[in-house]
Amino acid sequence: MSIRPSTLAFEDVRVGDQLPELVVPLTRTTIIATAIASRDYQDVHHDPVLARERGSKDIFMNILSTNGLVGRFVTDWSGPGGVLTEVRIRLGVPNYADDTMTLTGSVSARDGAAGEDGRGEVEVTVRGTNSLGDHVTGTVVLRLPSKTAAPR
């Protein structure tokens, strides 16, 4: 899916709200392009022969890219004005090439009211699974603009 065009208002979020699922095909192009975009040149992220030599079954996604996709998953839902303040992830099985990762999530907590910056804090719980199990589980904290507060 693509990103929500205008930002979700803090008041419109409720604990338990589900985020739209994000399905990420783990093509070699994606694994390699994301590794290189994060300036990570370790061979296990781009060279299948060396990856197997080192005991992996194939090339696999690097951690920075997992962070990037978790961030994208949350801002796709929030819209452009969602400000991420924390991304806390726990790593599980690798994202090997030719697999698919599906990101799901829901709102796990919400501030009672917006702060002085005209934004309110929302916490989202995230899980990314592939055919081997959980690749990533974690929590993302973001600030969403309030309808009532003046600053946007």
Partner: protein, 391 residues
């Protein structure tokens, strides 16, 4: 690991035979603990300032269509001063890149000794202790402000902690937590990152005879830390979309009750629809944690190794009106009665599982001072915080 420095993930160490269950000496423990709080080594500056071309590579690779990363007008409309960098790109700015990766690889191939920074030395010391394999387990990033083109980051690392030996799904290991502090061109802290790895003794040593190396890699398998080596973990709750909030709340020390968003009726255990008005809309309220014992059972048999016996399981009626099943502690044997006032505390059974445990509430008539007696099994117990969580 690929944290920051690039190319340092593989230690290339060889496996050593040895009992995975052997206990480390006090001297070894002390030598390890001496690294806690020590700078990991000299920091370094990002090779380039935050810039749009690198952002473009990143968002295209991630498939991220958020316009605030490339379009000034869209960024201003969304409340930013102009283009901002994707927050999760934090570490990319300080990666050293291919040139350094090649140099490190060449040095390793030539058999050069590894570096002498505290980070290098603590890793070498863990290798010496037989903790030769490594897996990344956690990465926690906190962003204090959005980064904008022109920002020039610097990073410094601190070795925060080295855990005692833990039995995990991968073998006995120690968690090593490093913190990276990111500052901008004015010396202001703009982000922090905690990166935790598990250095472990593999359960089934591989490559002992055939000369092959067991290469550490990122994210091999989810390690499962246990409270005490050899002791099984408590069963995990089956998390669903409906009940997840409850267990996430207990991890923060909050007892949450599901509430119908339309008619306000409270319900527990969590379920999708309101029994009073059939609405699917719900939110949560935080319980005071006070209540009374509605019913209870003391379980003696059969005994499951993850629990301590006799095991008192109570149906507690909260003062908000809902009831929940939970463990009770702090009552002397035989003193537990129906109607006893209790109050929730939160007990961390392992790194993942924190559950409410109810204890006597109020004064003297029952067990006067639970703190004066060992808990069920000596786990850390924290009283319920009096105030809502603040970030």
């Amino acid at each position: 690991m690929s944290a920051g420095t690039g190319g340092t993930e593989r230690s290339g160490s060889t496996e050593r035979a040895g009992s995975p269950d052997s206990t480390d000496s006090p001297d070894y423990e002390a030598a390890l603990q001496a690294f806690a709080g020590v700078s990991g080594g000299p920091g370094h500056q990002a090779p380039d300032p935050v810039n749009v071309p690198m952002i473009r590579h990143w968002v295209e690779a991630m498939g991220d269509e958020n316009p605030v990363y490339l379009d000034d007008d869209a960024a201003r409309e969304a409340g930013f001063p102009g283009i901002v960098a994707p927050p999760t790109m934090l570490q990319a700015w300080i990666m050293r890149g291919l040139k350094v990766s090649r140099e490190v690889e060449a040095a390793r191939a030539a058999g050069a000794p590894s570096g002498d920074s505290p980070s290098d030395r603590v890793m070498a010391l863990l290798d010496e202790g037989g903790y030769t394999s490594v897996v990344a387990t956690n990465c926690d990033q906190r962003y204090l402000r959005p980064l904008v083109p022109g920002d020039r980051l610097s990073v410094e690392s601190v070795i925060e902690s080295v855990s005692p030996p833990k039995t995990t799904g991968l073998g006995v290991g120690r968690f090593l937590t490093n913190r990276l502090d990111f500052t901008d061109q004015h010396g202001e802290l703009v982000a922090t990152m905690r990166f935790r790895i598990l250095k472990f003794r593999p359960r089934q040593p591989t490559g002992a005879d055939d000369g092959t190396r067991t290469e550490p890699q990122e994210a091999v398998a989810p390690p499962a830390p246990e409270e005490a080596p050899g002791r099984p973990l408590r069963p995990r709750p089956a998390l669903t979309q409906d009940n997840r909030f409850f267990f996430e709340g207990t991890r923060r020390g909050e007892l949450l009750i599901q509430r119908c968003a339309d008619c306000g009726t409270l319900r527990h255990p969590p379920r999708p629809a309101c029994g009073a008005c059939r609405s699917f809309a719900w939110d949560t309220v935080r319980s005071s944690g006070r209540g009374s014992v509605y019913s209870f059972v003391v379980n003696h048999h059969p005994q499951v190794p993850a629990f301590d016996y006799p095991l008192t399981v109570a149906l507690v009626e909260l003062e908000e009106g809902t009831r929940l099943v939970a463990n009770v502690a702090g009552f002397a044997p035989g003193e537990m009665v129906i109607g006893a006032p209790v109050r929730a505390s939160f007990e961390a059974f392992d790194d993942e599982l924190t559950l409410p445990v109810f204890r006597p509430d109020g004064d003297g008539e029952r067990h006067p001072d639970p703190d004066g007696h060992p808990d069920l099994d000596g786990h850390r117990v924290e009283p319920a915080p009096a105030q809502p969580r603040s970030e």
